[in-house]
Symmetry: C2
Subunit: 490 residues, 2 copies
Amino acid sequence: VARYRALPDWIVLRPGTAEPLYRQIYRRIEAAILEGKLPPDSILPSSRDLAEHLGVSRMTVVNAYEWLIAEGLAATRPGSGIRVAVDQPAPEAHRSRAGPAERSPPGTPHPGHPLRMHPRGPALAFQPDTPALDQFPRQVWARTLKRCGCSPERDMLDYGHRGGYAPLRQMIARYLISSRGVGCDPSQVIIVGSIPAAIHLAAAILALPADVVALEDPGYSWARKAVERLLLNCEHVAVDDHGIRVDELVQRLPHARIACITPCHQWPTGVSLSAERRSDLLAWTRTAGAWVLEDDYDSEFHFELPVPRPLKADAGSERVILIGGFARTLVPSIRCAYLVVPAGLEDAFVEQVIILGAEPSLHIQAAVAEFMKEGHFTRHIQRVRKVYRTRRDALQRALTEMLGGIVTLRPAAGGLQVVADLPAHLAAEAVAREAAKRALTVRALSIHYARQPAANALHLGFGAVPDAEIEPAVRRLAEAIDAAQRTGLQ
Amino acid sequence: VARYRALPDWIVLRPGTAEPLYRQIYRRIEAAILEGKLPPDSILPSSRDLAEHLGVSRMTVVNAYEWLIAEGLAATRPGSGIRVAVDQPAPEAHRSRAGPAERSPPGTPHPGHPLRMHPRGPALAFQPDTPALDQFPRQVWARTLKRCGCSPERDMLDYGHRGGYAPLRQMIARYLISSRGVGCDPSQVIIVGSIPAAIHLAAAILALPADVVALEDPGYSWARKAVERLLLNCEHVAVDDHGIRVDELVQRLPHARIACITPCHQWPTGVSLSAERRSDLLAWTRTAGAWVLEDDYDSEFHFELPVPRPLKADAGSERVILIGGFARTLVPSIRCAYLVVPAGLEDAFVEQVIILGAEPSLHIQAAVAEFMKEGHFTRHIQRVRKVYRTRRDALQRALTEMLGGIVTLRPAAGGLQVVADLPAHLAAEAVAREAAKRALTVRALSIHYARQPAANALHLGFGAVPDAEIEPAVRRLAEAIDAAQRTGLQ
């Protein structure tokens, strides 16, 4: 193994310039790697040593290293420090990769070679569907996993716990009543691998081919995909500042079998469904014999009062199936979500979950249950809620300061993203393309629309962006907007 | 917490009687629990102490305790010994539960209350779909899980590795070529949660509603369920001593779109598809443009030469999709399986896996990959192959000795079960019912038939039955057959 333990003399910093110090360090190391000065698999100096050597804070070096890792130029392994990646991207690939202009909807396979050991993925600023990966208590999680993985209980080894690990179903039921105001029996909680799986599962059981399913527009494209495969008839209903247009739904699609909606934080706009519409929607489910699939994907993260409660917490919500998950509250890689299904339909859901193979490993389920039981889950949510609030405030502040004259921010009382409307002459898609050249993942809100015209707005996620990254990232966004404006004028 | 640390004076053993010592201990403790002498949550003496006290081997006590745990009368937790279960079954429930007469097909939800903390499940003797739970290297697995669970790599936390954790896909591809003779690119390996999920997934992509799917009869009922949900047209084809009747398939269902088969070890009969039929089947896929879904669920465990290779290893198998899993080679609770899909269809499979939510947690996938990479997987398979051979031999020997005049054993060159034909006057279903009363899970082979007449045979799994259990279990089976005969004569 080649090693690079000596402190580099070729990192020359220029403090006081516009370029942040961490970025300067990043660029110097990037150049050294691309030039071959730092060969693959060589070990980088520890962040502490390099920080001392350069006279900067350790966090500055850590930030630079995090960028190198995110870009796939370096990789980290526990106990062996940070190394130059073995599998170097071609320089052009590296340049163009930092955020494809046409960002796919959430959950799509990342672009690029699928079998790279250290997939680089798009930049975390401003990816809307990713939570604070840096805040996840990995050590506690790993210890819990280990404890669950060596359990000698027979039910932790065989085919048991169909429909979900019993203690996890109990913990989720307890969490739903205490934190979300939703009462249910643990047997009504069905565990699956993801929210699209939950939507697919419920639609497969509740609807027959050619039945109408109402979807929000703009909305969650994986909901549509989950439903289309079942040969159901997708119809889109407009969303405004108060959520889905329930009047349009009731008038145009009175016989819809299912409405698939995001009442607490509408995806992607973030708005909450108004009280009047909630009650109209529930009345419709009862008179039409329809079902609502309530996708409650991240409403744990709301920063202003009143905090919206799930529709399932309202009176008269018997025909609402609540769907929640751990991708936002923990991390996406855990791949665990749940439904609260009507009493009497549990067996049908369990059988279908087995067929779909959507049952997470029992060891993962048991670890999530332990995590909840020991209070780590609630503590984590409370902690990151503050982190997200800080990040949202920092993003809004930076956008206002640097781009106040250009973008118009919509209120963002909850969720992990901000919607910034653009003037008509500045196409969001062009900004997204320019942003991609500057190592940013910026999505045009229009990608979430099924019908035209779409809003001309940027969809900016702050959940996964470390605090110190936000201002530099907005600065790059300002450059991207500037470039898009110049291109537009030519 | 109530404790029972004093050594019991009410366990009086009678050595030299027909009843094994472990069973006597089990019955005494069972009686003490049901009578209330041992209250819920009281701690049982350690196996070492009790063995010394009673003058028996420690293994005898361990066996007795394992039975108590399997019956749900006791429970174990790491570091706190074995306790009397808090949630005692009602005496009748306990009696009738020990193996329902009408056993469901593999993978079915276990009967009984779904939210019991220590689900008792059916007796392990002679459950055909369960591997040697007692042989799984839990400690190694748990340490590996921990290591993967605390990885700081971004791709272990976010939505990455769609279609499967890249190193796991690589390890499986390597394993398939070196151990199973199947060559493929890692990108063709798609990771899912279970074999039914893999069948559902492939059928959803390759077939359209009303397409014909050919299934084996007798066969795997979850394959049928996975396919029926897609509104495909299921047709059954007979199985004989050389596997599925390919002549019948080709003549009766020439335009079938998919044939879903188990060529190496036919489920449930265990026979291997003959060389002639393999080549006829492959020729048919090419002329008819049909697909074979090859369910290779347990062919790692074959005890005689020649060891059958997957159909996918044959020349001309381009239209074969190989499906394998870790439920038999590791343990079912891991919930991880895979498909080898045709080059060019990878993206379609990946998208559908996301919709179905059939992606196992990345931490589980990474742990399986590490397990394989470090050689634990191959070592485990080699080790349990010997264990299974011993168990098979012991089962065949005991059946021949005790029931040689009544049952006729079919050859069992591989797999984890033995098929024992019964004379016409002795209905397998009646034997299964009597066996259930004696804490045995014995299935009539007839439950796997879609059409009549079914063979009159018992389906006896030995994989999960500890060596020392086999003879006593066959003795109870002999009693059950005796009782069924007496009932039949009345």
